[in-house]
Assembly symmetry: C2
Homo-oligomer: 329 residues x 2
């Protein structure tokens, strides 16, 4: 007769320690019991190598130490480093992460939120573009980069300030006329404030600008078209460019190279994100760096601090400029 599993239970610990089941439960949960009892129980726990059964605990108490993290994917460096950081922060607080990738699909986003709610996780951290995401109010949810209304706390970079900073830096680097490259977004989300900040700054400091809106998932040709629209007499009619994501910087550089234009000599470029390529390698472009670790920490703290009622509805964290070779300095 093979024993099915040799994992000791609370009952085993109680027997070993010569105390009652309830006493063990108290010790495990940090509820004060008599000194001698506590010691005996702790000794028994160590001796048997007891560890609590998550499923029993989840079933009975409704509390698990799981947090669901819902993101479009992990191949975009921004998402990857965000999830990486969230995982670390959760581990420090003795929680663990259940990850769901949505590929930006609103149906999947909704599906996973519902799934997470059914699985009774302790909280959900999600970055969703679903316009009408349906959220029960039984499980706390914190949103990243997307404001869903006052009831759901949202954590994001200071995107507006970042856009402003980009314009300021281009001006400081001597640019006379700049352009902005951005993606058409179907939905308003915090990162779209980058353009507002950039435009406001341009107007405030008297820097003339153009902007180009690329279609979502912009094909190569659109980058070419953009550049040719601004290409006259062998050179570009702008000397500074703000791309709302680093990804755009990389894409446009390929085209610039083909046209024989060099960066930063012919045009200075600032991106947005600042996620290091292999974790800690040097930046591949000058950029506005998002405080990924701070965003992750804030999101985790908001999720774990139970009184969501007095949580801020929007938390904007400061960004900074970092030189990465695509500007003069």
């Amino acid at each position: 007769m093979a024993k099915k599993s040799n994992n000791p239970t609370m009952n085993d610990v109680a027997r070993e320690a010569g105390v009652a089941l309830g006493t063990v439960s108290k010790v495990v949960n940090g509820i004060p019991v008599g000194e001698d009892y506590r010691v005996r129980v702790e000794k028994a726990i160590k001796k048997l190598n007891y560890h609590i059964n998550n499923y029993a605990q989840g079933l009975k108490s409704g509390k698990t130490r799981a947090i669901a993290v819902i993101m479009p994917n992990l191949v975009s460096p921004y998402f990857a480093s965000l999830v990486n950081s969230i995982g670390k922060t959760l581990a420090l607080k003795k929680h663990y992460m259940v990850f769901f990738g949505t590929d930006y699909d609103p149906d999947q986003e909704q599906e996973y939120v519902r799934l997470a709610e059914q699985q009774k996780v302790d909280g959900i951290i999600c970055l969703s573009y679903n316009p009408k995401l349906n959220v029960s109010d039984e499980i706390p949810l914190v949103s990243i980069d997307r404001y869903f209304g006052a009831k759901i706390p949202c954590v994001a970079s200071d995107n507006y300030g970042g856009g402003w900073l980009a314009a300021k830096k281009l001006r400081e680097n001597g640019c006379k006329h700049v352009a902005m490259l951005r993606i058409a977004s179907k939905l308003p989300h915090e990162p779209s404030k980058r353009r507002d900040g950039f435009i406001a700054a341009c107007e405030a400091i008297g820097l003339s600008y153009d902007q180009k809106i690329l279609s979502d998932g912009a094909p190569y040709q659109e980058f070419v078209d953009f550049l040719y629209e601004h290409f006259h007499d062998g050179k570009l009619d702008f000397d500074g460019l703000f791309c709302v994501t680093d990804s755009l910087v990389h894409q446009i550089r390929g085209t610039l190279k083909e046209m024989g234009l060099s960066v930063p000599e012919d045009v200075q470029i600032i991106g947005f994100d600042g996620c290091r390529n292999f974790g800690d390698l040097e930046l591949t472009c000058s950029t506005i760096v998002q405080p990924v670790d701070a965003i992750a920490e804030s999101a985790v703290n908001l999720i774990l601090n139970t009184d969501q009622s007095k949580a801020p509805s929007l938390l904007c964290l400061p960004v900074e400029y970092a030189f990465g070779g695509t500007t003069r300095k």
Copy 2:
């Protein structure tokens, strides 16, 4: 009296459908019951929007639909795309992923394996460098990139073949004398076969080579030293370079640029990994591409196919060469 939670249970479904609890369980688990009963239960499930309680199921059956994934981090593109792909594959098979990041720390690796075992996940997929990882044989474990012995299936790229292919391609591109840049690895793991394949190929095809072993987490200075060792009369004494990871390619390129050397004119470089920078952007270097999706799929299949006894102990998946600008073609 407010009801604490409005999640319906199997009992609620049974009452609604006018059948017994056990019958509902059978329907939910696909065990055949009378046609009329099945229909009534299914109708009740839909009406009440019933979903099974994972914790109750986990407690009773010992089966959960969770797979633990243990990786060093998510900021390295290879790990990130691997985890991304594993998550997708699991989702297709109605499983979900619990992610743990270890930062290469053997203690954390061990800790998370144990934690996962205690949480009674259905399986563990792990990429660990811990030499003496202690694994219970109660829960199936699949290793990626590291061979732990015949009892634990290991999935990896054909690293040896990849190294061989790199040498072959450098030769095809006209290289006369090549060098290899690799990291000193404390532990034997599958990727270290890249160098063996490369060296074997060089010898087989009569291509002369040098190799440089960098210390782990190589500082900038080591790259400089390496290049100066091979720099005579204004040029390098090799015309082809194989870096065992793409990350090394990026690091060495910075130094090459500072020395006024250009790629691929002065030296052609081939890396290893081939993870696209933003998921699907173009490659940043010529490289041996690892079949990340295939690795992920294989690992998931091995984990979910219960009869691990007849699983292969090592599964090597084919790699391919991809041009990325750092070679002639």
